[in-house]
């Protein structure tokens, strides 16, 4: 299958390693990747903050860039949620029937990365090895919008050497919420404190999720507190093999159990 990767604006800029991991996993499974360089952003930040009109050109741009893509894979459930929950509404808001039709035609070809593996490819074992104690954070969009349910957990359970530890209160939001983390920094920090406590209580050295936005939030606090727990996107865990784990600039020193790094 020819898979078109939508990296997302923040992964592109802050978490390129996640994109590299997606490429590695899909190529390992025998698919070819294309990356359309005209891509930018899904429009969620503007839409959710109330800049609805400003989001429309961004949405149009996405639809235009990926109009004829066979399959689009996105390592971010919040961006997929933006498309599934709001793109049609945006088109209706500006009374653009053509845009609405284009969106309707595009949506069935859009996949979040983990649901692409489990649902579209029907694969749970992607040949990964990652011998670490890992806990999984359920992001709000992945559960309440995409209804991923236990897909990420099923993928993680097939990773060799991985010790999966359940987390308390998985249903409660980590407090990121995009611009909420800035506009309501105090409440966001209070929510984050509770979520970090749950992560630390698992004793896991790695916290993973399908969204780097939540992970960035969690790590922001855990790093400030100088805890030993690091955050790693699920794609990077799935890309990891006995020969090589993905290497992250944030952590110049590899985890002790790993078998070396690769750039």
């Amino acid at each position: 299958m020819r898979v078109s990767l939508f990296i997302t604006c923040y992964n592109d800029t802050l978490f390129p390693g996640t994109g590299k991991a997606v490429v590695r996993v899909l190529e390992r499974l025998g698919h070819s990747i294309e990356f359309r360089p005209e891509q930018t952003c899904c429009g969620q930040m503007h839409w959710n903050t109330g800049y609805l009109r400003e989001a429309v050109p961004i949405i149009r741009h996405f639809v235009e860039v990926f109009r004829d893509a066979e399959t689009i894979v996105i390592p971010s459930s919040s961006c997929v949620s933006m498309m599934r929950d709001h793109y049609l509404k945006a088109a209706e808001m500006v009374g653009d029937a053509k845009l609405a039709a284009d969106v309707a035609a595009l949506l069935p070809r859009v996949w979040e990365f983990s649901e692409f593996l489990a649902k579209k490819l029907g694969v749970e074992d992607v040949g990964a090895t990652y011998a670490h104690r890992v806990t999984y954070h359920t992001s709000c969009h992945s559960q309440r919008s995409l209804h991923l349910n236990d897909i990420p957990l099923r993928l993680l359970r097939k990773v060799r050497g991985l010790q999966l530890v359940p987390i308390e209160n998985p249903q409660e939001c980590c407090g990121f919420g995009g611009t909420f983390s800035i506009k309501n920094a105090d409440v966001s920090s209070a929510m984050l404190a509770d979520k970090v406590r749950c992560v630390l209580n698992t004793g896991a050295e790695v916290c993973t999720a399908v969204d780097n936005s939540c992970l960035m939030h969690l790590f922001g606090s855990m790093h400030r507190q100088r805890t030993f727990t690091r955050t790693v996107h699920i794609a990077e865990i799935l890309a990891s093999t006995a020969e090589a784990e993905p290497w992250d600039e944030r952590f110049p020193v590899d985890l002790p159990v790993s078998v070396g790094g690769t750039r």
């Binding site: 891509q39 930018t40 709001h86 995009g178 790590f219 922001g220 790093h223």
Partner: protein
């Protein structure tokens, strides 16, 4: 000390009010405990019903239908209630409602009235109005009694005093009921309330209540409660005055079969609450001789005009959204500075004020969606939040101050960048260079300027990686091209 009425009155926005409440450990502990308990109970009894989603669907459809034909159903309700001996009054706003109610009380020369808990009366500030005119309102709901005697404000519309623990309640009762020997268990406190109120029920002639539902088909009123104080106020006095928002009408008696399943399970986590009273007008020899229903608009009807936001009025005041909200868990209800707090408060309060007060409330949410998941009438609160944010932004952009504000400038700039990949890429490179001044030796950013400092208050930020994904891909493509 009575908390301020509104965010405008306290000259705060939600973040500022929240910061104040976050500093109150006692409230936070009490709120957390209460919401944990109700949530656990709610989840248990909801899991018992395999048709819960069907009930939500039906409830949502019935409420939406009633709102779409609100004038028709209100007129039908009025006709039937009147035919059964009730008297229906219409109040455009709080002032009118207060005037009508006071007038009725004065007509009967009553100096005291007993009250059943009703957030609608809090909304119109009825108690203050009555007191200012020499009428003493006595709250009979235990939580409202605690709030009243404590000169406080409700923080949750199902359990208004959940921010108080037993020691605090005991102190209030000891002082106000003059009971120096009062015990400290919840049982002692309830017994004190029972005795205090009993003689009032049997003596006072006029009662004021709210209602949960108005049934158009029969002209009936339904009140849902637990303690029995509602039944006392509805049946013992000579005169009953009920103040009810216009949005509470449902088409038919049969529709209660849906809401009396979803409301108790959502609100208090019970299969059914202890008492539901349904009465129609006046009944000979049973209950009050006179029944007055005051229909209140007070900002509700304009909300109907907004097709996106109209669903706000479907609310049946179960407070399940408060109980599940991760923001409410941290701050409690007083941070919203409104009768209606939590997720529903974040959309209802600003709209009732025609978006002139509470403008920071639609932003008091991380859009996690937990509220929508539990709402028994499927109000898509996150959708309405975004819609209201859109209205606020649009209004702000009409002013020079708004146009030139940091947020607007930042958002316009970002939109400009996202419109074109080469612009976006250039901005990424600029960021990689420009960040150097913020990045510490460890490779992390620990302090950001201006409004971004909100992040670095409590969080670090990893520096931008040296190479973006798109640059890595481009380099890889080039390598592969060369190899061919």
């Amino acid at each position: 000390m009575t908390p301020p009425e509104t965010l405008a009155e306290s000259r705060q926005n939600f973040p500022e009010a929240a910061r104040e409440l976050l500093a109150d450990s006692q409230i936070r502990k009490n709120v957390r405990h209460a919401t944990d308990v109700i949530q656990a109970k709610r989840n248990k009894v909801v899991a018992e019903l395999p048709d819960w989603q069907d009930l939500r669907e039906a409830g949502s459809a019935i409420r939406a239908h009633a709102l779409e034909h609100l004038d028709h159903y209100l007129a039908q309700f009025e006709a039937n209630c009147t035919r059964a001996g009730g008297q229906v009054h219409w109040a455009r706003d709080a002032a009118e409602a207060n005037s009508i109610i006071l007038g009725l009380i004065q007509k009967h020369e009553a100096k005291e009235v007993i009250k059943v808990k009703t957030m609608t009366s809090e909304e119109i500030k009825l108690n203050a109005h009555l007191e200012a005119h020499g009428v003493r309102p006595i709250e009979t709901d235990l939580a409202e009694l605690i709030v009243q005697l404590g000169h406080d404000k409700p923080s949750h519309f199902v359990a208004p005093a959940l921010h108080k623990n037993r020691q605090e309640v005991r102190e209030i009762f000891q002082r106000e009921m003059k009971l120096p020997e009062l015990g400290e268990t919840p049982e002692d406190l309830c017994a004190a309330a029972r005795t205090y109120l009993r003689e009032k029920y049997l003596r006072i002639k006029v009662a004021v209540s709210g209602a949960n539902f108005l049934v158009a088909e029969t002209g009936s009123v339904c009140l849902v409660e637990s303690e029995g104080n509602g039944r006392m106020c509805l049946t013992l006095p000579d005169v009953l005055i009920s103040i009810v928002g216009i949005e509470k009408v449902i088409p038919r008696f049969q529709d209660l079969e849906v809401f009396l399943q979803t409301l108790p399970r959502s609100a208090t986590g019970e299969r059914m609450n202890p008492y539901n009273s349904i009465w129609t007008g006046v009944h000979e020899g049973d209950g009050p001789r006179e029944f007055h229903l005051v229909l209140l608009d007070n900002g509700r009807s304009p909300i109907l005009a907004d097709k996106e936001a109209r669903q706000t009025l479907k609310c049946i005041r179960c407070a399940a959204c408060l109980n599940v909200c991760p923001v409410y868990h941290q701050t409690g209800g007083h941070a919203y500075r409104s009768v209606y707090a939590g997720p529903i408060g974040a959309i209802l309060t600003p709209q009732l004020h025609d978006m002139k007060d509470g403008r920071s409330l639609p932003y008091a949410s991380s859009l996690c969606g937990a509220c929508y998941e539990v709402c028994p009438v499927k109000i898509n609160i996150p959708e309405v939040l975004i819609h209201l944010r859109g209205k606020i932004v649009e209004e702000e952009q009409k002013t020079l101050g708004g146009k030139l504000g940091l947020w607007n400038i930042g958002m316009q700039a970002a939109a400009f960048l996202f419109a074109d990949a080469s612009r976006f890429s250039a901005a990424q490179h600029l960021g990689q260079m420009g960040q150097k001044v913020f990045v510490s030796k460890s490779g992390f950013i620990e302090a950001l300027p201006l409004m971004l400092s909100g992040w670095t208050q409590t969080r670090d930020l990893a520096a931008l990686p040296k190479q973006t994904f798109r640059d890595w891909w481009a380099a890889r493509e080039e390598r592969e091209e060369k190899a061919r």
